[in-house]
Symmetry: C2
Subunit: 219 residues, 2 copies
């Protein structure tokens, strides 16, 4: 008999996950002001656990909180977007360096599975699933790195990536940012050339930024 540990789901944890999903899904739009009383009434939860959830989302960067002033949903400026790209490039290059020697056939099979899921969600035009798939696809290298500190920094960064993708996808359709780059990513991950993979990450990110600039000029 195989049993895995059951970890109790605290109320504050459930609230945190719920709010995160809502923000990702764009139900709470960027810049929007939130009040604790309203949230606690709508969620049928007292303010204690709600405040704990809010605090965690603040640490993740999804909410902005000022003492006695209130709460706003994070919005991403162009400047912050540039920072997001450069930071992610740094972390993901490091992840590749750490993980490269740990690749196995099983791990590569795992990556292909994630890729297929992503493509499927894309074709189905399911924005939410596509964003999840994109994050899950790129999480692969971090998990493989087996570097828990790096993973915790990726967990800190990924919500911002998600929120940006959600915004972008809603504006430009689901086939937006990383349309074709991911199959190159998949190919290079399967190859045996670390240097080439590192270069691709750099290009991949730069391409994403360029698309953002382009979409800004149009609008």
């Amino acid at each position: 008999m195989i049993l895995s540990e059951i970890r109790p789901l605290t109320l504050s944890g459930q609230v945190r996950d719920m709010l995160r999903d809502q923000i990702m899904a764009g139900k709470l739009s960027p810049g929007e002001r939130l009040t604790e009383t309203d949230l606690s009434q709508r969620l049928k939860v007292s303010r204690g656990p709600l405040r704990e959830a809010i605090l965690q989302l603040t640490e993740e960067g999804l909410l902005i909180k000022k003492t006695y002033k209130g709460l706003r949903v994070r919005s991403i400026s162009l400047r912050e977007l540039e920072e997001l790209y450069s930071m992610r490039t740094t972390l993901e290059r490091f992840a590749f360096e750490e993980a490269w020697e740990k690749k196995t056939d099983a791990a590569l099979e795992d990556l292909r599975t994630r890729f297929d899921y992503l493509e499927q969600s894309r074709n189905a035009q399911d924005i939410s699933a596509a964003v999840n798939g994109e994050i899950h696809f790129h999480s692969w290298i971090y998990e493989l790195s087996d570097h828990s500190l790096l993973q915790s920094h990726w967990r800190k960064l990924s919500p911002l990536v998600r929120i940006y993708m959600s915004i972008h996808n809603r504006q430009h359709g689901v086939c937006g940012v990383f349309m074709d780059a991911n199959d190159t990513y998949l190919k290079l991950a399967q190859d045996d050339n670390l240097a080439a993979a590192l270069v691709h990450i750099e290009n991949h990110m730069q391409k994403g930024l360029d698309q953002v600039y382009a979409s800004l000029e149009v609008s």
Copy 2:
């Protein structure tokens, strides 16, 4: 008239800072179990703000919290230490790349000031001040980078660096880990050779790790 914004210091914020200081200073030893009731009585604060402080310190990695199980002060294993060094190398190299073009005479003067303060604390054998000085010295490049996302990741990492330094200094005296490397660091920061500086960071960190290994073999 120049006035900076006054932000009210909430109770939870004060508790957070107080607890962080106590952990850094080693008043709460690694692995030690803490109970909320005891802390709230000793700090003369109700459990609400205390829990918020605890939550933040958990996010910083200084405390480990398990649902319904309790609270422990973080202890650093050798494995985690290796991760800490590699992660810090990655971030600090990135910070140098981002900040290199932004160096000014005033900024370099600032760095020298931080260096002097650090040396002074060292000579005075003031462990707490030396750790603060070390962090402040190395924070310089992150501040100069003007990259707020990078800075927030450094803020996440630095408490772990502090806690490690505290432990190490208490065991081996204040002149421990980075004794001579910092003046090289200072010299290279003032020079005009980015590549050399990047290499030094790598060496700097590796040297720190080697010292740890050496001290482990002795004990």
